[in-house]
Amino acid sequence: MLEIRSLSMRYPGGTTALSELSLSVGEGVLGLLGPNGAGKSTLMSILATVTRPTAGTFLWEGVDGVEHPLAVRRVLGYLPQDFGVYDKLTAREFLLYLGRLKGLSGAALKSRVDHLLQLVNLHGAAGRRLGGFSGGMRQRVGIAQALLGDPKLLIVDEPTVGLDPEERVRFRNLLSEIAHGRVVILSTHIVSDVEAVAGTIAVLRAGRLVCRATPEELLSKAAGRVFAVVVPPDRLAEVQRRLAVSSLSRRSDGVHVRFVGDASALAGAEAGSASPVEPTLEDAYLLTNLPGAA
C-alpha cells in the first residue's frame, strides 16, 4: 500500500536527516524505532506531505505522494510529535474546524466529533477551552483529530507522550483495532508500545534503515545475546564503558547489570559469572544499535 523509494532529506546547513531510505509498508502497524536524530520525525513529516524531500519519493497505492500530496492527504490521519492547538477554542470547536478542513460537514461532522470525543475520553471536556487542557488531554485531542476523516493511512509520532498508563493502554488498543485494513505508522521511543501493537518494526539510524523485522524475528536474533551479571560498585563505570547496558540496579550484593552483546567483553571472573537471560524487545532494539549489528 505504501512504498517509500530512496527518500533523502538534507536540511540547509548540511544536516542529512534521511539518506536513500526505501521501505515497503503493508496493512497493519509499522513501529518505527531509532535514537534521537535518526530521521523518524522527518520521515513522518514527509509521508504526511508537510515536508518535501530533497530526493526520492513515496507511493500511496501507486500514486506519487510527493508530486500529488492532495491524494495522500485525502486518506491521511496525522498526529505530529509537537503540535499546538488554539487555546481560545473549545475541544469541540477545534475538531469541527479541522473536520471542515478535511472536507467533512453538517450533522455527520458533528456526530463524528462527538463520537471521537467519547472515544478519547474527552466528552466531558468538549466544551472547555483548550487553553485549560493538560498535556495529556491535548494529546488526546490530537489523537481524535487524526481519526476524524476515517484515515486509510495513519501516521502517529510519539502519540503516547503525556498520557497516563490507562490512556496509553486505551490508545494502544485503539491502534490495534484501527490497523485492520489500514496502514498505521507509529514512531515512538517507548519500545513496549511498539511491542504491544506493531506487526513489523523498522529501525532507523542516521537517516538509514538498519533493520526491518517482526518483533518475533528481532527477539529470536537477540536470543543468547542478553546477559545479567552482578558487579562491584567500583567496577560499574568500567562495565558501562565496555558494554551496552540495558538496565542496572544497586542492591546489597552489588550492582545488577543487564547488558546486550558479547559477554566476553567483560573481564575474567565477571565474564564467567554473566548468565544469559530471556531477551525483551528493548534488548533486541539495543542490539540493533551496536556497531556492526545492521
Partner: protein
C-alpha cells in the same frame, strides 16, 4: 548579585540574538532605508525635513552641513521610537508564555524582577543597536551629500539626547504591555499606537509649544517635543511655521546657513528625568507580572474562589468527564462511516469562520461598526467606517500567522482541503471574511457609485493580502499592525491617497486603486515565494 547579573546577561544575549535573526530586524532596516531617504533627503531634491518661514520669504531649510544632518538624524531616531520601536520589541514575555519557556524559567531561581529587568535590558540593547544604525546612516548621508567639516558632536549629542531615554522608556513600556492582561493581546498593539501618538507625542508637543515657544516640555518620554523646542530656539525669533516633519515643495527651497541646535543643561536634565521615567512602567510590570502562574494574577486572586471539593461520586470519574477504564465507550469500528468532500472551498469557508470565532467580543464591535458605517448619515458614516477599519487590526492581524504562533502548522497544512499555497489560502479566506463583515459598507458604496464600490472592494483585497502575507512572512501580527495603523492614521487625517478603502472621502482615482491592488499582489507574490522556499528547505 553576580548570579542575577549573569542570568540577566544570558537573557539579554539570547533575546538580542533572537531578535536580530527575526524578520523584525529586516523591517527596522527597511524603516532606516526609507526614513533616511525621507528625513535626510538628497539636498538637490524638493523635500526637506526641517523647515521654517520668515516673513514674506520662501520656505527655508538648512544647508546640508553637520548641524542639519545631525539634527535630522536625531529627528529620525525620535520618529523611529514613536512609530516602530515598540512593535520590534513587544511580545517577548508573551512568547515565553506561549512557547513554554516561561514555565522553565519560572522554575529557576530567577526572580520576576530580574527576569523583567533582563527583558528591559534586552529590549534596550536591541533598540540601541537599531538606533546606532540610524546614526551610522546619518553619518553616511553626510559623507555622501554633506558640505563643510564633519563635526562628530553635532551628530552624537542630539542623537544621545533623544535615543537613550527613549530606548529605556519604550523598552520598559513594551514589557509593561507584555505582562498586563488586556494589553498583551493583539489589542495592545492598537492601543500602543494611540498611546504613543497622543500621550507620548502630541501631549509633549502641546506642553512644549506654548506662545513663546521657549519652554521645554515637562513630560516628553520620547524626545520629539524637546527636539522641536530646541530647533525653534535655534532659529531667528521671527521664524514661523517651524516644522520638523516632511515637506515636499514644487517650488525651490532656500537653503540657508544654520548653526544647529544648542543643548542647554535644562534640556539634558529633562532628558535624564525622562530616562528615569522608565522606572515607573518597570515597577508596574513587576507588580503585575504573574510569573507564568495564573493563580498569581490579581484578578484571579480576587475573583476566583478555591473550588469546592467534588462529591465522592464525581471523584470516581476523570476530571475530563470520562470513566477511567482502559476500554473505550465503544470501538473504533462502531464509528459511523463518513464521506469527506475535501476541496478548497471548504478550507476557505472554514478559515473565514475561524477568524470570526477567534474574536468572540471584537467581532460584534466590528459588525456594529460596519452596520453603522452602512446605515448612518454623512460624517457619522465616515466615523463608523474609520472605527470599522481600526477594529479590524486585532481581529485579523494574526490570522496569517495563527499556525506558526500556535505550532499547529503540521496539523493544519496536512489537511486535504487546504490549498498547496498557504499564503493564497490565508489571503482568500481573509478576503472572504472581510467581504462578509463589510457587507453593509459594500451595500452603501454600491448605492453611492461604482467608483466607491470598486475602491472598497480593492481596498479590502489589499488589506487581505497585506494582513495575511505580512503575518505569514513574519510569523506574527506586529508588522501588519504597525504599518496598517500608520496608513489608517494618514487616511483619517485626510491624506487622500492613504484612504485605502475609499470610505473616508478620498482614494477613488483609478491610479490609487491600481496601486493598492498591485501592492496586494506584490505581498501575495512575495509570500508565495517565501512559502515555496520554506517548503523546499523544510523551514
Amino acid at each position: 548579585m553576580s548570579r542575577v547579573l549573569l542570568a540577566m546577561g544570558a537573557q539579554l544575549g539570547a533575546e538580542v540574538r533572537t531578535r536580530l535573526r527575526s524578520a523584525g530586524t529586516l523591517v527596522a532596516l527597511a524603516f532606516i532605508l526609507v526614513g533616511s531617504t525621507l528625513w535626510m533627503p538628497d539636498p538637490r531634491g524638493k523635500a526637506a525635513s526641517l523647515t521654517w518661514r520668515l516673513a514674506g520669504e520662501a520656505v527655508n531649510t538648512p544647508m546640508y552641513r553637520s548641524p542639519y544632518v545631525g539634527a535630522a538624524t536625531a529627528i529620525l531616531t525620535a520618529v523611529f521610537f514613536v512609530l516602530v520601536a515598540f512593535y520590534l520589541v513587544a511580545g517577548s514575555v508573551r512568547r515565553d508564555r506561549e512557547t513554554g519557556v516561561g514555565a522553565i524559567l519560572a522554575a529557576t531561581p530567577l526572580g520576576k524582577g530580574a527576569y523583567l529587568a533582563g527583558k528591559v535590558a534586552a529590549n534596550t540593547a536591541y533598540l540601541g543597536l537599531i538606533a546606532a544604525m540610524i546614526l551610522a546612516v546619518g553619518v553616511g548621508k553626510f559623507l555622501a551629500f554633506g558640505e563643510g567639516p564633519f563635526e562628530p558632536a553635532r551628530f552624537l549629542l542630539p542623537w544621545l539626547l533623544v535615543s537613550v531615554p527613549a530606548m529605556l522608556f519604550v523598552a520598559a513600556m513594551a514589557v509593561l504591555f507584555d505582562v498586563t492582561p488586556g494589553l498583551r493581546s493583539r489589542s495592545g498593539l492598537v492601543i500602543w499606537f494611540f498611546v504613543s501618538m497622543f500621550l507620548f507625542t502630541a501631549l509633549p508637543l502641546a506642553l512644549g509649544d506654548g506662545p513663546d515657544a521657549s519652554g521645554l516640555p515637562a513630560f516628553d518620554p520620547i524626545g520629539l517635543a524637546t527636539l522641536h523646542v530646541l530647533v525653534k530656539g535655534s532659529l531667528p525669533p521671527e521664524a514661523r511655521e517651524v516644522s520638523i516633519g516632511l515637506i515636499f515643495r514644487d517650488g525651490p527651497l532656500t537653503r540657508v546657513p544654520w548653526a544647529g541646535i544648542e543643548i542647554p543643561w535644562a534640556a539634558a536634565a529633562g532628558r535624564a528625568a525622562s530616562a528615569l521615567l522608565a522606572v515607573l512602567p518597570f515597577l508596574l510590570s513587576v507588580a503585575l507580572f504573574d510569573r507564568f502562574d495564573p493563580a498569581r494574577r490579581l484578578a484571579w486572586r480576587v475573583l476566583r474562589r478555591p473550588p469546592a471539593s467534588p462529591p465522592a461520586a464525581e471523584n470516581a470519574s476523570a476530571p475530563d468527564g470520562g470513566g477511567r477504564t482502559a476500554t473505550a465507550a465503544f470501538r473504533i469500528q462502531e464509528l459511523p462511516a463518513i464521506d469527506a468532500n475535501p476541496g478548497a472551498r471548504a478550507a476557505f469557508l472554514a478559515e473565514a469562520r475561524l477568524i470570526w470565532e477567534s474574536s468572540p467580543l471584537l467581532r460584534w464591535a466590528l459588525l456594529a461598526a460596519g452596520v453603522a458605517g452602512g446605515a448612518l448619515p454623512g460624517e457619522s458614516a465616515s466615523f463608523a467606517a474609520a472605527a470599522f477599519l481600526l477594529i479590524l487590526v486585532p481581529v485579523i492581524s494574526e490570522a496569517g500567522a495563527r499556525e506558526a504562533l500556535a505550532g499547529s502548522e503540521a496539523l493544519v497544512f496536512s489537511q486535504p482541503s487546504v490549498p498547496l499555497s498557504g499564503a493564497l489560502w490565508k489571503t482568500g479566506s481573509l478576503a472572504l471574511f472581510l467581504l462578509a463583515v463589510s457587507a453593509p459598507l459594500l451595500f452603501r458604496a454600491a448605492l453611492s457609485s461604482p467608483a466607491r464600490l470598486i475602491a472598497l472592494v480593492t481596498g479590502l483585497l489589499f488589506v487581505s493580502a497585506f494582513a495575511s502575507c505580512s503575518a505569514f512572512l513574519t510569523r506574527g501580527g506586529k508588522l501588519f499592525s504597525g504599518l496598517y495603523l500608520a496608513l489608517w492614521y494618514a487616511a483619517v487625517n485626510r491624506l487622500a491617497a492613504a484612504d485605502f478603502c475609499g470610505v473616508l472621502g478620498g482614494g477613488l482615482e483609478p491610479a490609487v486603486r491600481s496601486g493598492y491592488l498591485a501592492a496586494g499582489a506584490a505581498f501575495l507574490g512575495l509570500a508565495m515565494l517565501v512559502e515555496r522556499r520554506r517548503r523546499l528547505t523544510g523551514r
